[in-house]
């Protein structure tokens, strides 16, 4: 801070050095380009090239010739099954996360609750959306596993065993319920600014025009918020689709979703076909890529109302 004030004092002298500047302009551009070059070299070596070469591999046979066979092999029944399961879990956890996240965010912003609720919810969401991976799986095993606290409490209090009723933490619904722990907070974090953008005047305007609460939601709030809601849901979807650690630690690879299959493939070529592995990666990138592009398009639409 000290240096900043010191420099502000010196601003007066900068005018005299302005002429000097133009002669150095060429030199400076070179310095600027050199200054950003580490970033581009880094991005090329550790982000773009590895992914690009991987995706190229999806279109090659073992000896490096062009082929579409790997893509065709993606339609093998076991791989289709993996993709279907992955899509179902990601979609369910995204829709659930979006719904509950929206309700929570809306309640905290516009619900007329005490003022401490909102910052508490935001801070907690920041923590919970980052609390994914292996520890999250442990937490849910301690809660809803066979000997988990909630499982035991339900047996004790209501004499109701969720495992006899067909629930299994290591199954579809168990994994979805676990994913919601980071999906809901993520939704709260992304959507709160959009809900903040709803102006009080709009509510007053619809009231003056005699609209009911239902009409206000149907014709004002949802038309304004839907691009934000839909966009965030897509982001949640991509987020769940790429997640590995939570599912791996929870189900120990018994649930054959795509990221788990790919994990096993990288570890030990379980498909017995490296190039099919690359095609699997391509399939994943295609799905997360499309969701993100749609998200960006919807966000651009949503921002019209945010000004």
């Amino acid at each position: 801070m000290q240096s900043a004030t010191f420099i502000e004092d010196q601003q007066v002298t900068t005018a005299s050095t302005l002429q000097n500047k133009t002669s150095k302009a060429m030199n400076r551009d070179l310095v600027a380009w050199l200054g950003v070059s580490p970033f581009f070299i880094f991005a090329a070596l550790f982000l773009i090239l590895p992914t690009f070469l991987l995706l190229v591999g999806a279109f090659q046979d073992p000896s490096g010739n062009f082929t579409l066979q790997n893509i065709a092999n993606l339609f093998r029944s076991d791989i289709i099954k993996s993709f279907t399961l992955s899509l179902e879990i990601s979609a369910t956890s995204a829709l659930g996360g979006a719904l509950f996240g929206f309700i929570l965010a809306y309640a905290a912003v516009n619900g007329g609750l005490p003022s401490w609720i909102r910052p508490t919810l935001m801070t907690f969401s920041g923590v919970a959306s980052n609390f994914a991976g292996v520890p999250l799986a442990f937490a849910f095993i301690a809660t809803l596993g066979r000997t988990g606290l909630v499982t035991a409490a339900l047996v004790k209090i209501f004499d109701f065993n969720i495992y006899n009723a067909g629930f299994n933490l290591l199954d579809f619904w168990g994994l979805t319920l676990t994913y919601l722990y980071f999906q809901i907070p993520l939704m709260v974090l992304i959507l709160t600014p959009a809900i903040d953008g709803l102006k009080k005047e709009w509510r007053e305007a619809s009231l003056t025009l005699g609209s009911s609460t239902f009409q206000h939601w149907r014709y004002v709030i949802l038309p304004i918020l839907w691009p934000s809601i839909a966009g965030s849901t897509l982001l949640l979807f991509a987020n769940a689709f790429g997640a590995v650690a939570t599912a791996y630690a929870l189900t120990n690879s018994s649930l054959n979703i795509v990221p788990i299959l790919l994990f096993a493939q990288i570890r030990g070529d379980v498909l017995h076909d490296p190039n099919l592995g690359y095609a699997l990666a391509l399939g994943m990138v295609a799905i997360t890529g499309v969701s993100n592009v749609l998200y960006i398009m919807l966000r651009a639409r949503a921002e019209r109302w945010m000004k």
Partner: protein, 263 residues
Amino acid sequence: MKNSKIGAWLAVILGALYFLLPLIATFEFSLRLKRGEYSFEAYKIVLSDPDFQSAFTYSIVLAIVTIVIGILIVVPTAYWVQLRLPKLRPLVEFITLLPLVIPAIIIVFGYVRMYNTSSILPLTQTALGTDALLSFGYVALALPYMYRAVETGMRSIDVGTLTEAAESLGAKWPMILWKVILPNIKSAILSGAFLTFATVIGEFTFASLLNRPTFGPYLQLIGAKRAYEPAALAIIAFIITWACMGLLQVAGGAMRSANGAKK
């Protein structure tokens, strides 16, 4: 009006139940190692496990290295883009968002293929090379957070004037970045650093597939063979995440008040 308030309370209470129950359950579970009484035995076992100590230290060192490399790459880039190369901004922003689009498992799959022992640059051949690769991978994973934090900080100061002033005093650009720009965006960099730390410390996919003994794979290993220790570890991990986010808010608050003071 009253109805909607009841609804809002209901939403918040149900939300609190869903989010707090697993934490309470995990904590309770972590205390149950000794039969018939609550004890911190599981924590004692975990904390005195040499494997835990080495994995945890390893991850902390890795996180610090990642943060340093991240700052060295991101700060000059954000500086030059802001000052001289605004045309590059969309491209740089696009690149920094890529790690959110490409799942981590794909990036590491790419590494395994590109840097394997029979490639031109066989980074995975040595432990040190793999560590370097893992650090770079983490820099890539944390790039969206680090870049956005630094860029926000950079936008809140007058980079042009500061630079000209420093130049008029005869400073060269490494000196300007180090002595003028860096101190002025300290809290932004700290925000990026805490987010990076939270991302790196328990990361599993990269470390596991590159076969490095960090905290993430250690967690998974304990989870597969122990009952109560994983719960204790989950609580420890939650506290670390909470601490990172708390420090992030402190840094963010410092950034806001610094901006406020300027006006």
